[in-house]
Symmetry: C2
Subunit: 477 residues, 2 copies
């Protein structure tokens, strides 16, 4: 027979810091019963529970319960427990159902639409078949089972991982020390820390841009200013200068290699010009380098951080390249920024998943990451090339696309006469999802298209989907 | 010989969406060179890089470079690359060093002091020797190596893990479905999501209380109101009602089992009274249940969620009980709250570490968690009892402490005549760190003491530290 739940009660010693005696228990329970705090018919805590809780002997608790029985306040029932007595004629009170007030929520910051089994042509992730799951498993096992003592906690991130990341960055011409790095839950979390820790409240970023940064910035009360980016024509540096002069944002957030969603990569000239603008106008820079590890021949990519020095914040993530669910990224700052960033990290998550951080460190130190990137880049290059081939062969004239040079995604742009919502509906009828590219823009879209993800799917399936898209676009022109 | 880095340039087709021809490359580079965007002496991208990037043949790129050589704009050097020509007498320009403006940071949200090798008497974590690292390793291996296909992504959390958590909660009398749960990066992150997603901007919580919630709430612009908690006397419900009536917070955040830092557990009466206040005043409730899994005999602990229904938010975490670095917690809400909470989670980290979520799910499903808790509770009970024994044997009169009934920590309270800062200094000289308990209070401390953590250290080391503390306290009275 399952016993009834018992009520939680409060018992303390009359003499502070001394052992609770039987009389303390009797007095406390008698008072709580008479005061109606413990309802008639309620079960009291078992003897063993009070014994352990108060650190006293079983006999003391039993003596107290015996005294309460003697006073007629409680009754003891064999194999059922000790219960508050119910006065004769007094029905066991039924506590009326209580309902706490619910929370009032703001509108959801991010609304995502389920795909319901469609072929996802806008997906920016890499085919799981290309990801090194087996080697990640080995590295997890190595650190959990065969590793030395598990380090306790490091809110900034596992120190050897930070050292390994810094060494990789130096190999790409970026000044970095382990102490300058804060490990994060993917690069979204790096953005979260910066948004939380910075003093200013205006952030400028490319328009179109990475869609999830806007609700994140807004959740901390930042205003977001758009810097129009035309991936076909390059950056209008004079236009950007006018906007930055006028808005004076505290921070410019830019994805210089493989801009999301357009696939655009900044030229060396544009990078230098942006650093000059930062120095002249006092707008700090934050560079998101999510893409360059996926691009072959990217070992010499210029970067804001390499060009503009230690004041530039640099974000990157291992998530897309290794396993979407791994959620490991980092922000590279400089020593002056670390207390603010680590303080923000403690406020948001206390600390990171050290098991994953250690496993990633093992993965980097064994050299698995470089060999993985090399084979991954070959495969991504092949899929990119296949995507270009299908587009060239099948897309009607006036349709254009960016040439990011590999990686996972390009921007396909259509003549304005094509109704994108209608095109989406037609594609859904074919079982294929295309993104609503307009969501990448802060205001009125300056482009008329959407992302094509070519890293997610095998070439033959991708080709069929692109040919279907070309057929629908052709029918709408 | 290591080759020079090359400059990044922008080349696109004159006819949108068509293959880039040699003349496109010549025109683009000639314009960028003449415009000074590519400095004299700079190395141009290797042929293979443009070939891959633009998806064209090597011959096309080579023909373009040959034409630029013929025009005198570039020079080709064997085994070195292709360089922008330097006009005679014109020195290779050195770009002047650029320094981007640095970010201006707000004051750190959380400042933590390093312990520098001291024995940490305030530590609330559990001895790593008591944690099931080997079994966690097995579960990680099972899901990474032997598991089926890795699920792609679930921003709400791995669905089977949410189902396993809901089942456990139902076993404790808490209404819960998998769809009502959002998995988080530990319970701090659950607080982050609620703080980000809620509409109201005033939160009330116990004073003293969990210290890291205050900077978190403030980072989203919330005002924090204190509800005085005396762990020796219980909750002053009339006092709380007056504060709540006056402040009308949107949310009351309460740790009802094993309150941090006092170890206090709410009585059934206090829980019911708080739910009644919530219903009457419209203040929603959020319950943090971090502690009850560590308490033996806690299977019937009353909770706000079980008493107050589905509108109550309920937080918990596996971190402390399994591995501090695992960082897995959850918030239980109800269907109406899920879009706001998942939207907030996407804004903060996009999604969680699915590898860890799957490993935890495996751990729960194999039944490891219950057997682990059972053995853990026995050990924590023994350490708790040993701690009580040493305190009773060694502490001077007038020193008092709470009796949480197990778990990791109790509150030790000293006579006001003891200068806590001076005591900390004396303890540091003995190699022992005690916490600055005042940091747990929102304003003027209503208690005069600090946490004692008894779960972190073996009994003999703990006893020596407590005896040293008793000796110093005795010397100061």
């Amino acid at each position: 027979m399952s016993k009834a739940p018992w009520v939680a009660v409060h018992v303390s010693s009359a003499e502070p810091g001394r052992r609770v005696g039987a009389s303390d228990i009797v007095d406390a329970l008698a008072q709580q019963i008479r005061g109606g705090h413990v309802p008639h018919g309620a079960r009291l805590p078992p003897v063993r529970v009070l014994e352990r809780r108060l650190g006293i002997s079983k006999n003391t608790v039993q003596a107290a319960y015996d005294e309460l029985v003697a006073r007629g306040l409680v009754v003891s029932r064999e194999r059922e427990g000790v219960f508050v007595a119910v006065p004769q004629g007094d029905p066991v009170p039924q506590r009326r159902a209580l309902h706490a007030a619910p929370v009032t929520w703001a509108a959801p910051l991010v609304v995502s639409e389920p795909l319901r089994g469609l072929f996802d042509l806008g997906n920016v992730f890499i085919d799981p078949q290309l990801l090194p799951r087996e080697r990640l498993a080995e590295c997890h096992r190595a650190v959990l089972r065969d590793g030395g003592p598990m380090p306790f906690y490091d809110a900034q991130g596992y120190p050897p991982l930070r050292a390994a990341i810094a060494e990789r960055l130096r190999g790409r011409g970026i000044e970095a020390e382990a102490d300058d790095i804060v490990v994060t839950v993917g690069s979204q979390h790096a953005l979260d820390l910066v948004a939380r820790a910075m003093a200013g409240r205006v952030v400028a970023t490319e328009d179109p841009g990475y869609r999830y940064v806007v609700p994140l910035l807004r959740s901390f009360g930042h205003r977001v200013v758009g810097l129009p980016l035309d991936p076909f024509g390059g950056i209008d540096l004079e236009g950007w200068a006018r906007i930055l002069e006028h808005e004076r944002p505290a921070l410019v957030y830019a994805t210089t290699s493989f801009h999301n969603p357009t696939g655009y990569s900044y030229t060396s000239h544009e990078i230098a010009a942006l650093v000059e603008l930062s120095a002249r106008l006092g707008c700090a820079l934050m560079e998101d380098d999510w893409g360059s590890d996926m691009l072959s021949g990217s070992e010499y990519r210029p970067s804001l951080r390499a060009t503009g020095g230690r004041g530039v914040l640099y974000l990157n993530s291992f998530t897309k390249k290794l396993l979407p669910s791994l959620r490991l990224g980092f922000v590279l700052a400089d020593a002056a920024a670390i207390p603010a960033l680590v303080g923000a990290k403690r406020a948001s998550v206390l600390g990171g998943n050290l098991v994953s951080e250690m496993a990633l460190c093992e993965f980097l130190e064994r050299g698995y990451y470089d060999t993985h990137l090399a084979t991954l880049q070959v495969e991504l290059d092949a899929r990119y090339q296949a995507c270009l081939d299908v587009l060239r062969a099948s897309m009607p004239a006036l349709v254009r696309w960016t040439t990011p040079g590999g990686g996972p995604t390009l921007w396909l742009d259509l003549p304005r006469s094509v109704d994108l919502a209608a095109l989406r509906g037609r594609m859904v009828n074919r079982g294929i999802a295309i993104e609503a590219g307009a969501s990448n823009f802060l205001g009125e879209p300056t482009l008329h298209g959407f992302r094509i993800g070519y890293a997610r799917h095998p070439i033959d399936a991708l080709a069929r989907a692109l040919e279907a898209l070309a057929a629908e676009v052709g029918a709408m022109l």
